[in-house]
Symmetry: C2
Subunit: 367 residues, 2 copies
């Protein structure tokens, strides 16, 4: 689907919401609807905004990126922001005679909202919207799934590389860099997020930042990384052990692996995020580790590393064909360590298709 047809789809949603204009500020939504790849330094420096109306589309950006915006987009009138966003909007908005002007409530900073209020007509109602473009983005088309698949293949190749080079005594930071350097020199345009390498007791922290701790034989080592390609992310986690796994590791590992595979098999189109979360959660609870599964089962992946849908205990999101999301149960035992196993999954014709190919059987991860 081209960016232009995405804008047409958005206009249909705008009509349903009774919006005659929509200001897009979220960088990923901006890219999704326009193709513009400008870089942001939030919160103060935004590479640009989209203003979509029933019949026109504007891209507002500053002098440094006007040329890039014109080259990368089709169907947009590029408007230069000389100083402040509201000055640029003031050139456009009065002619539009807007009644209901939508904006992205999850993203627009309070100050920009106040500035919008200053610039619109007193008769214009500013309408916060939530997850409008996010919901469109959640359903991927073929071209998007292809990009994600290529990013998954790169992530899989990095795991193969790590299995071939990892040795006791290398630090978490060295291994994290090894993953990143592999991805960046094998075709990735970037990484989805800073790789996590968490060894031994550090692995009980799901968001551990790689340290100078050397990895050791016999302990759990969680590796979590992703590649970015044409803007799209992949996301994978594997837990490995150097040498032979002890009984506790085997017990925890097989619990998580069983839960992960069970979820991947049962997830299907039409169920809620709550239901999707429950498959892995119940399996882990039945094994007696329920209190140690401290996060959700998964999240959507696309232009953003965390996007719709969410697979968690409170998520009313309905899973649909074309969605791409992680399935990543984990068990984290303070003082001992943790195990997490994560694949990317998409739904096609109602059924789950696992995109990640890296091995995850216990004997495959003893290196």
């Amino acid at each position: 689907m081209s960016e232009e047809s995405r804008v047409l789809t958005l206009r249909e949603v705008m009509a349903k919401l009774g919006l005659d204009a929509f200001l897009i500020s979220q960088p990923e939504s901006r890219r999704y609807l326009s193709g513009f790849t400008g870089h942001d330094h939030p919160p103060m420096d935004s590479a640009g905004f989209l203003l979509i109306t029933e019949s026109t589309a504007f891209l507002l950006t500053d002098g440094r990126t006007v040329e890039q915006a014109e080259q990368e987009t089709t169907g947009y009138e590029v408007v230069r922001i000389e100083n402040r966003l509201q000055d640029a909007l003031a050139q456009i908005i009065p002619d539009l005679a807007l009644k209901r002007f939508g904006f992205e409530g999850n993203h627009l900073p309070y100050r920009r909202y106040e500035e919008l209020k200053e610039v619109v007509d007193p008769n214009t109602l500013l309408v916060p919207t939530y997850e409008v473009v996010d919901e469109l983005r959640a359903i991927k088309d073929e071209r998007e799934i292809e990009a994600i698949e290529e990013a998954v293949i790169l992530a899989d190749a990095a795991f193969d590389h790590i299995l071939g080079m990892i040795e006791p005594g290398q630090t978490e930071q060295q291994l994290a860099w090894e993953i990143e350097a592999f991805l960046r020199t094998h075709g990735a345009e970037g990484i989805s997020f800073d790789p996590i390498v968490a060894s031994g007791p550090n692995s009980s922290r799901p968001h551990h930042v790689p340290s100078t701790r050397p990895v050791q034989v016999g302990e759990p080592i969680i590796l979590d990384w992703g590649a970015r390609l044409r803007g799209y992310c992949s996301d994978i986690t594997r837990t490995i052990v150097l040498g032979e796994a002890d009984d506790q590791f085997k017990r925890v590992y097989n619990t998580v692996l069983d839960a992960q595979i069970r979820a991947e098999k049962r997830i299907k189109t039409g169920i809620t995020g709550i239901k999707a979360d429950s498959f892995a959660r119940k399996a882990i609870e039945e094994a007696g580790y329920g209190e140690y599964f401290v996060h959700s089962t998964g999240h959507g992946v696309g232009l953003a590393i965390h996007e719709n849908p969410t697979l968690r205990r409170t998520s009313e999101n309905i899973l649909r064909d074309g969605m791409v999301f992680s399935v990543e149960p984990g068990v984290y035992i303070p003082g001992w360590g943790g195990v997490r196993i994560e694949d990317l999954v998409t739904l096609q014709d109602g059924r789950p298709v696992v995109l990640t190919r890296s091995p995850k059987q216990l004997d495959a991860v003893e290196v």
Copy 2:
């Protein structure tokens, strides 16, 4: 200055502003005031918030980073966000009987503001504040300047490395990766931003994204990069030429270099950002290239790559001892290319001290 004394300073400012509580959402300000290094995925995933009152300090974060927050901070009560920020705030706020509750207007998304409104007492006034912690952060103490100096030394070493390895035919992307890999394997904890390598006509775009274009003899090549160390950024730009520079390059280069050195000499404590901007701008205008200097002269650098002060035509910021900022005039001629030269400068005892040591004389950049 410890994080605890920073909180004391903030409380003095809060007293002046008549605030009895202050919600900090900006990641860099959160780190500055607490030492907590949690990672954010904006706009939806925040690693945490600070709530500072006259006598207490809370750090609100989710279950994945509670342990890290407790280890990294002193003087904070760490509160776990089970699901939504406002639920966690609802446990704390009622006891405080707040009258004026400040928040960061530049950063807090509209939705979080709406959620705050739901949770505070009807008698509590929510007060948007602008650049409060940002202004504290703008004045660096010795420990901060040391971190920036070390990040500058790393950036300087990367330039030396590039001068030793660059050859015609290498692509912009290869060179950008070479810079990043050098920094990451020589002690940087990260990069300040994705390095810019812009060659030939690409160098007329100040924010060019490195492409597969091979660099060639005789053309301008702009390199712009920075290292991150203990959270603090460096930022440097050099423009080089492979082989001998032609007359046009020499003319443009010497104009920018002259403007850059003039600005570095004249900038001093007590002047405005407007005045600081004017030194380089006037020099470039006098040389006849005024219309091609399309950005500001500089920006503050610290925990964020762009922060206070700003050195531009509209900046009322007053330069102070302890500030650290870039001085980076440039000339960009569409179709031909551009030249930018950037150092980091700090003010001590009223006078400028240039932190960057990389050579910038024309003969030093012909490689």
